[in-house]
């Protein structure tokens, strides 16, 4: 049940696809007609070419947007890191989070001084910088 509904929610609408394809084919027809008419009627050929290019651009944009929407539906898991520290010698290491990690969990002895190491921090790094909007 879940699988079926996921597939219906993630695909591009057939209706939208049909419209895009019709507009795309009409734009191709307009462009070919513009090339064909170019020697005899320059003005009309330019109008047809402009119409063809606009229609083609719009249909490609709509198609691109629909694909982007499908791609944006994925839930991305952020990379979470765990900082491990030795309280005695201050040896510090950062590794990827593992299930079962928690802040102040005791871990294996330190490689340097053999004292116990603990998890001091668990965090995710956010790469993109927030926009400030200049205010």
């Amino acid at each position: 049940m879940s699988g079926n509904s996921t597939s219906t929610s993630s695909r591009i609408s057939t209706y939208l696809m049909m419209i895009v394809l019709i507009v795309l084919s009409l734009s191709v027809v307009a462009l070919v007609s513009a090339v064909y008419l170019y020697p005899s009627d320059f003005q009309f050929a330019v109008v047809l070419m402009a119409m063809g290019l606009i229609a083609m651009g719009m249909s490609v944009y709509v198609l691109f947007q629909s694909r982007k929407r499908v791609a944006s539906m994925k839930i991305e898991a952020p990379k979470v890191m765990t900082t491990i520290e030795c309280k005695k010698c201050s040896f510090k290491s950062v590794r990827e989070f593992q299930r079962g990690d928690f802040v102040f969990k005791d871990l294996d002895p330190c490689q340097k001084c053999n004292d116990k190491m603990i998890i001091t921090s668990i965090f995710k790094e956010v790469k993109e910088k927030e926009k400030t909007y200049g205010v």
Binding site: S5, Y36, L37, I75
Partner: protein
């Protein structure tokens, strides 16, 4: 051959002279103008419906992913004998009826009772779903299920208004939905992120308060206080700090209201100050992890704990101070950002300043780290 015939016919349809083009263009312009005069609102509504529909598909996807992650986590951790899917689906539909407020006297304790019943019922359900899990894992699974429940509810409410708008073709229903949709989507994405964090037991942004409390109490002896909280007696700047936080590292917010009241009563009200540390919602433009100081009970939720803390401090006339770490709703329920984790040391400095400025040497004070302590021990 046929193609070339079409190519020849097509230009004739539009006319080949400049005058014909202008008359066709002006005709198209008039048609568009008339269509927009009579059907402009309807076209606008269809555009909005389409936008809402796109978001609804995304919500459906997020909700289903949430359900899938929840079931997989239960199977992985809880090792159930039977498939937990049906029980999870039933859980996702659970509801809580808030008490009648026509006569508001005593409503806080009625709400408190209902929340207690809800909590124990949820815990029992999780134990049945995941029999092999320990107390920490039960708390994490309960939080995971609650996030899945929130996603399910958001999807159903948006779907309700979308269908209602389509049925009635009312611009105003669709418009209201479309206007709040960016905020709804932001919240849904935050819950989706929270769900993964809860499933793995990672600390979340809301855990800023418990993280500070844990840093202060680490290495000192702790004891349990009602309900689901721990307290430690820590010497600080020549004073005695009684530090309270929810018991970790399982997903748990505890009942800080009851814990603060119990500790105040144990000390017969001889407390110089109560300092509350919590994550606070930031306004757009403010920096994540910024620390601010103020007065009052810094605690969210349904209001029961805030009421109890205020009642307890008023009884003994104890000053109530607050320090908050600013973050938005997305940061609060998703894995803790580095800026928030790093702000814990700044909060400790602020708390020390408050202690030095607001209390005298030898006095006792209470420091409460409020929030979900998932992934944070003590």
């Amino acid at each position: 051959m046929v193609m070339f015939t079409a190519m020849e016919v097509l230009p004739n349809l539009f006319g080949s002279g400049g005058d014909s083009i202008s008359s066709i263009l002006s005709m198209i312009f008039y048609v568009i103008f008339i269509v927009f005069v009579f059907y402009g609102q309807r076209i606008q509504m269809y555009v909005m419906i389409r936008e809402v529909e796109g978001s609804l598909y995304k919500l459906k996807y997020i909700k289903e992913e949430g359900r899938k992650i929840t079931i997989e986590t239960i199977k992985e951790i809880g090792k159930p004998q039977t498939d937990p899917s049906a029980r999870v689906d039933r859980y996702l539909e659970y509801f809580t009826i808030s008490p009648q407020s026509m006569d508001p006297a005593g409503i806080v304790y009625k709400l408190d009772h209902i929340l207690d019943v809800r909590d124990s019922r949820f815990k029992d359900e999780v134990k049945l779903m995941a029999p092999a899990s320990d107390e920490v894992q039960i708390n994490n699974l309960e939080n995971t299920l609650e996030a899945a429940m929130a996603l399910n509810y958001i999807y159903k409410v948006v779907r309700h208004f979308y269908i209602q708008g389509k049925k009635t073709l009312s611009l105003y229903i669709i418009m209201q939905l479309q206007m709040i949709l960016p905020l709804v989507m932001k919240e849904a994405e935050a819950y989706a992120s929270a769900l993964k964090a809860f499933a793995d037991g990672q600390p979340i942004g809301d855990g800023a308060g418990p993280l500070v409390a844990a840093k202060l109490m680490h290495g000192y002896e702790t004891r349990k206080v009602p309900k689901d909280c721990v307290v430690a007696r820590v010497p600080m700047e020549g004073r005695t700090a009684l530090i309270i936080k929810a018991e970790g590292p399982g997903g748990n917010v505890g009942k800080p209201g009851e814990a603060v009241r119990a500790v105040i009563d144990e000390n017969k009200g001889k407390i110089a100050s109560v300092i509350m540390i919590d994550a606070g919602l930031k306004l757009e433009g403010e920096t994540v992890g910024e620390v601010a100081e103020g007065i009052g009970a810094a605690i969210g939720g349904p209001g029961v704990d805030q009421f109890k803390i205020e009642e307890a401090v008023v009884k003994y006339k104890i000053p109530l101070n607050a320090v908050i770490v600013k973050e938005d709703i997305g940061d609060a329920v998703s894995p803790m950002r580095k800026e928030i984790a790093d702000s814990a040391d700044k909060v400790i400095e602020r708390v020390k300043n408050v202690i030095l400025e607001r209390t005298k040497e030898g006095e006792k004070l209470i420091i409460v780290g409020v929030g979900n302590t998932i992934g944070i021990g003590q």
